[in-house]
Amino acid sequence: MVPEHLAQIGPPGLELQSTDGVIKVKVSPPEANQRNKMWIDDLSFKYNLVFWENSSHPQLQSKNIFPVDTIDDLAEDSTYCFKVQANLPLEAKQGFFSPVSCVKTTQKANDLLCATNLSVVALNMKFHLLWNNQEEQEVNYNVQYLYGFQKMLNDDYSDKWPSVPGCENITSTCCNFSSIITNMGFYYLRVQASKGHNKSCLSREIKVDPLRTNGIGPPGVRLDLSDTLLHILISPPGGPEDQVMRDNYDLSYRILYWKNSSDKEEEVKQKEVKQTIATVADVSPSTLYCVKVQAFSEAYNKSGAYSQQECIHTPAGTPLPLIIFGIFMGALLVVLLVATPFVFVLYQAYTKIKYVFFPSCQPPLNIEGFGAEPFSSPYLSAAEEPVENCCVIESMITEEGNQIDFTDYKHSKHSSRDSGNYSNDNNSSESKGSKETLEKEIV
């Protein structure tokens, strides 16, 4: 036997208050003042209110309400009857209904002071509340907020709404409430309009679910080219300093790109990426490419606005055979410039080495004395002297006893023609040498 499976939920308490054409409902949980409770967690109760207009053919309306709630859209000056039950969905249990309680609605005070048509405008997690002013005169506004969970509590928070910083005593009909918003849960907002010290009016409440209400702004786009690749650099919406958009939405990017030509319609291509860098391969040369990007969240089923169109012109490409020819000629030039001096240097070295160590000219073998010590032969090869016919001049200078016999000289002159090839002993060569010089002078 499991008590929880058998136990049932008793009836809750119900209090009604009729003010200003609306009914304020306050529900107290079952076992409210009991010490020992079956259902300890009284915050998990979901209250179902059933009400109808007291008439001959009552039409039952059913509504899920908070412990402290307001029923509006009721007819004025009519009696309405209410009953409420407490349910525990996780226990799959529905409780007993409370006793029926009836109340009459009052006249609606058509207060022009109240702010109407509350709406929220949000972009990149910057939130603005806008409303209408029915009064022509100046009205002071005080924008108030409440955390979503506070309505779940049993306490009455009606008078405990704090003010939005910066929107406490304003005359404009716009309030920036980004400062109070986080990604944790939803919020309620209302506007208190006042004129002087006496009159004030609370507007209807508006529920704000930040991540659902928020709009995704356009991303930033930058284009870059390298070779035949087009690089698309995306900066996320909300700017580089703000990570909120990226963190909460798990953003992806839809890229639209096309060739912008004036003559024909070009097909718009699409690409979806998760990163902030995308590449388009094989772009055509001398073409204007245009790109625009949109951020979207698949999880939240939300798309942002498209970025501004960015265009870039691809450079004129060189055809492939020309490129190959160019590379070939360049390589050839390099080879010539480098190889030629190198070959020349090698050749020079080879000839020098060959000349020194392996000379090509060999002297004839029949020449005597070749290979003997140098400078052994006193005879140097002398040039053939031009010898003219000459005659012996008889000695003009006659001195007694010193007659020079020139006949000998003739012989010696003859013999002197063959000079150079005879090897004589030193004494005779000396005297002969001096005689030769004398004769030469005479000639």
Partner: protein, 184 residues
């Protein structure tokens, strides 16, 4: 049950699945963010665990069998219940804890959002009926009741709150681990 009745049930279940999946695509992403932020806020709202409270430390023993659920739908309901319990605990008298009110409000708000979303997205009657009879669910309730009783016995003093906060931190980390596993 005749064939027509079966077809009807199938249609209802499949249509509810479609409806809930259309509105609920964001749920895994949102949940991981809420848990991540909740852990951060739990750290932020108070100071380091006080030394004097170490002697009062209690072992509560979270029923890890609950995290071994196979069906995705039952997991959603289980997490909803856990969040509901944590939400209840942190809505008690916190005066003596002296924590950062703003961080606490944000923490509660995040939990409440998840509870509401899970309730809207999970196939209600069928799964909830299954879950209500689940044996492991009773162990879960016992675990949270133990913490609640501990706080009430200590009259919600500082040490009892600090011990409970550390315990809740551990609990959220286990849930985070489980949801990550399910995602993959």
């Amino acid at each position: 049950m005749n064939a027509f009745g079966l077809i009807q049930i199938c249609l209802i279940l499949s249509s509810s699945t479609i409806i809930s999946s259309l509105q609920c695509n964001h749920l895994p992403l949102q949940q991981s963010k809420v848990i991540e932020n909740s852990l951060r806020l739990l750290d932020k709202m108070g100071k380091k665990f006080p030394q004097q409270c170490l002697k009062e430390k209690m072992s509560f023993r979270f029923p890890t069998q609950v995290l071994q659920l196979r069906q995705k739908e039952t997991v959603g309901v289980a997490i909803e219940e856990i969040f509901q319990h944590i939400f209840y605990i942190f809505s008690q008298n916190l005066t003596l804890a002296a924590w950062d009110g703003k961080a606490l409000d944000q923490f509660q708000n995040g939990l409440y959002l998840q509870i509401e979303q899970l309730e809207a997205c999970v196939i209600k009657k069928y799964t909830q009926h299954l879950w209500s009879k689940e044996v492991r669910r009773l162990k879960l309730k016992k675990y949270f009741q133990k913490i609640d009783c501990f706080l009430k016995d200590k009259q919600h003093d500082l040490c009892s709150w600090e011990i409970s906060r550390a315990e809740m931190r551990r609990c959220l980390q286990l849930i985070d681990k489980m949801t990550r596993k399910l995602k993959n």
